[in-house]
């Protein structure tokens, strides 16, 4: 069976289109609302879904995603509920790839082997684990690949040519190019630098390259899409969730609709490319 990620990128490439990758945090602001958003994402234009596994100490994330993690944890989200959300999503959607994104510790504690088995069973397609560098491939990346999951690696402006080989070695699904040195959602990417770096990566791999960190508007999405195979939007969606909540931090009737409306706008912007 072809991996869902490979299939989506291949189909989009055949139509000369770019992938729209959306990020939300699982369980933000609560499990039920989060599942409703998750189920609505493909219809609103998401080609690939990154689902954040909330963590108490998200060192590489900016304030928006930190707060999303905390909202989810306060609402009682845990890894079992996150996997259950994927399982529920798969009941009605067999095609949209889901990539779990987060930090190593909750996986390590789960522990790794059982997590990988449960993730595959739930219908997860790939993993992005921010603090599991190639130097630690033997303990998470290789077992994940053996379990049938894609392992998507982040590359950054600081990843030099020498290091790029090591970073790409066990990467699969797609390559995630982090367009800024910094945490999520804090600055806008420099398009020229992005184009240069995406070209540098593509010269070394046949995998699609998606670009994220700092993309907030349909115009930015369109610009990035002109130089990459996919565009990732996270903090802007998470901010929209935050703005829709009541003064006690609970979901309102606007929560699901405002996020999906933004996804539609971003998707339209990107697909007008």
């Amino acid at each position: 069976m072809m991996h869902r990620l490979a299939k989506v990128f291949e189909e989009l490439a055949a139509q000369d289109r770019k992938a729209f990758v959306t990020f939300i945090t699982a369980g933000d602001p609560d499990t039920a609302t989060s599942l409703e958003i998750l189920k609505g994402l493909p219809g609103a234009g998401a080609d690939v879904i990154e689902l954040g596994m909330p963590f108490s100490d998200p060192m590489a994330d900016g304030p928006a995603i930190q707060r999303a993690s905390l909202r989810a944890l306060h609402a009682g989200q845990d890894m079992h509920k996150t996997l259950a959300m994927v399982r529920a999503f798969r009941e009605t959607n067999k095609t949209t790839p889901i990539v779990l994104m987060g930090y190593y510790n909750p996986i390590y504690v789960y522990p790794v082997d059982r997590f990988l088995a449960d993730a595959v069973e739930a219908g997860v397609d790939g993993l992005i684990v921010v603090d599991a560098p190639p130097e630690a491939d033997d303990e998470l990346c290789i077992p994940a690949l053996n379990a049938g999951l894609n392992f998507i690696r982040l590359t950054t402006p600081t990843t030099d040519d020498h290091r790029l080989g090591a970073v790409l070695a066990n990467t699969s699904g797609f390559v995630y190019y982090v367009s800024i040195t910094g945490v999520t959602g804090t600055r806008a990417p420099d398009l020229e630098a992005v184009a240069r770096n995406v070209a540098r990566i593509k010269a070394r791999t046949t995998l699609p390259v998606a670009v994220g960190f700092g993309v907030r508007t349909p115009e930015q999405a369109k610009a990035i899409a002109s130089v990459a195979d996919g565009v990732v939007v996270g903090s802007a969606l998470v901010d929209t969730i935050a703005q829709s909540l009541d003064d006690k931090g609970r979901a309102t009737e606007l929560t699901v609709s405002s996020v999906l409306t933004l996804v539609e706008k971003l998707s339209a912007g990107l697909k007008a490319a």
């Binding site: 590489a60 603090d131 590359t155 982090v178």
Partner: protein, 410 residues
């Protein structure tokens, strides 16, 4: 030589970490890709510095003439009489410039920053001792400095906040989480990810991604090396017992490491038991009440829940309330080479007052935990047992917190 006569090499406790930065299961380099090239560059720079006599000479000169080393090894005669057991010595790290052992490490790291051509210094701090030491060396070397400190800690460590600002550092309050040391470390890592090109992150304890745990240990090992020489001079033999407080574990690692291969030397690391080891999330004893996990770039014992979410913990001492611990300590725990115990807030406060009254030394709340264990341990040991406690910091910064706990106004 007959092969049967070839002397067997003792297994050494001092050879870690391996080339991937592991102490057994622990340690490693679990950081975001943005930081990896920098971490590798730092490792190479540190290896080069270690092999360069001029680096050691400059550090030794600063230690002697700026920090005030060697720190004395003091026989605490009145405390010894009071406890009625082991002969108690204090290694007087609180007499160092800036008032704690933290300056040993900061001087080493700022020299490294200078060698690497870095233009800006950042650090995290809990009690403020590491922040003050970092702000001090940044002032000494003329580099701008940003210190991340939890908002809660800023409130309970005001004198140190003021000192940092006087020294020209910018103290950035961290309000995420509960505003303590762990959150300050997250924020410092975020700063570093955002400013990798020109910034040097001076980590204050023997934790974080490799090479920090080994590097900070090496800079702090001056404590144990001096203790060794000083005890040989004073008593003609090695100490029998070493006791040190553990937050992240840098002062303890500094005094323990040079003695790890001396089997006659028993070692005790004292964690913060806060309100009690049996109180859920009421202590900061990662080794006594935590489980292995991955945080802040290394695998080590952590205070965490069953889902791998990090707990905050509690200690009266802002310098000890860190939910992790240096990975080498985790390894020493598992191998059994060092015994890790704990002292409560109450016990530390009692020891604080005892030391102040009968030795005329006001200890910081951190070594007060070590002292609390000494008051239990020393009476059980014979009078010829030579016990050294690392007096890792002075208590001026803690007088407001102590006064509040004792119900006094100042």
């Amino acid at each position: 030589m007959n092969p049967a006569e070839t002397p067997l090499h003792l297994n050494s406790y001092r050879t870690g970490p391996d080339d991937r930065g592991h102490f057994g299961l622990y340690g490693g380099r679990f950081v975001a890709e943005t930081l990896m090239p920098l971490i590798l560059e730092l490792e190479a720079a540190y290896e080069a510095a270690k092999a360069d006599p001029s680096f050691h000479a400059e550090l030794a000169d600063l230690n002697a003439h700026y920090a005030g080393r060697p720190s004395p090894l003091y026989f605490a005669e009145r405390l010894t009489q009071h406890l009625g057991g082991a002969k108690v010595y204090f290694k007087r790290e609180e007499l160092n410039h800036t008032g704690s052992h933290k300056v040993n490490n900061c001087l080493g790291q700022i020299l490294l920053a200078k060698r690497m051509g870095k233009k800006r210094i950042i650090a995290e701090t809990g009690a403020g001792q590491h922040g003050v030491a970092t702000a001090t060396v940044a002032a000494r070397f003329g580099l701008p400095c940003v210190i991340y400190m939890g908002a809660t800690d800023i409130e309970r460590q005001k004198p140190n906040v003021f000192r940092m600002r006087l020294l020209g550092a910018e103290v950035r309050p961290v309000i995420s989480g509960t505003g303590t040391l762990k959150d300050a470390m997250n924020e410092a890592l975020r700063d570093w990810v955002s400013n990798v090109e020109d910034t040097f992150y001076i980590i204050g304890t023997v934790a974080g991604p490799h090479p920090y745990p080994a590097m900070v240990r090496d800079f702090q090992a001056v404590i144990g090396k001096e203790t060794r020489e000083q005890m040989l001079a004073a008593e003609g033999r090695l100490p029998d017992t070493l006791v040190a407080a553990i937050g992240g574990g840098s002062n303890a690692m500094g005094i323990f490491h040079p003695f790890l291969d001396d089997p006659s030397v028993k070692m005790f690391g004292v964690e913060a038991a806060g309100k009690g080891l049996d109180v859920p999330n009421g202590h900061c004893a990662s080794l006594n009440g935590g489980t292995p996990g991955v945080l802040h770039g290394n695998r080590t014992y952590l205070l965490q829940d069953g889902d791998g979410q990090i707990l905050e913990g509690h200690s009266i001492s802002a310098g000890l309330d860190y939910p992790g611990i240096g990975p080498e300590h985790s390894w020493l725990r598992d191998t059994g080479r060092v015994t890790y115990v704990a002292a409560t807030d109450r016990e530390a406060l009692d020891a604080f007052q005892l030391c102040t009254r009968i030795e005329g030394i006001i200890p910081a709340l951190e070594p007060s935990h070590a002292l609390a264990y000494v008051t239990k341990l020393a009476p059980t040991l014979p009078p010829d047992n030579l016990l050294v406690m690392n007096m890792s910091g002075r208590g001026d910064k803690d007088i407001f917190a102590v006064a509040a706990h004792l119900g006094m106004d100042i």
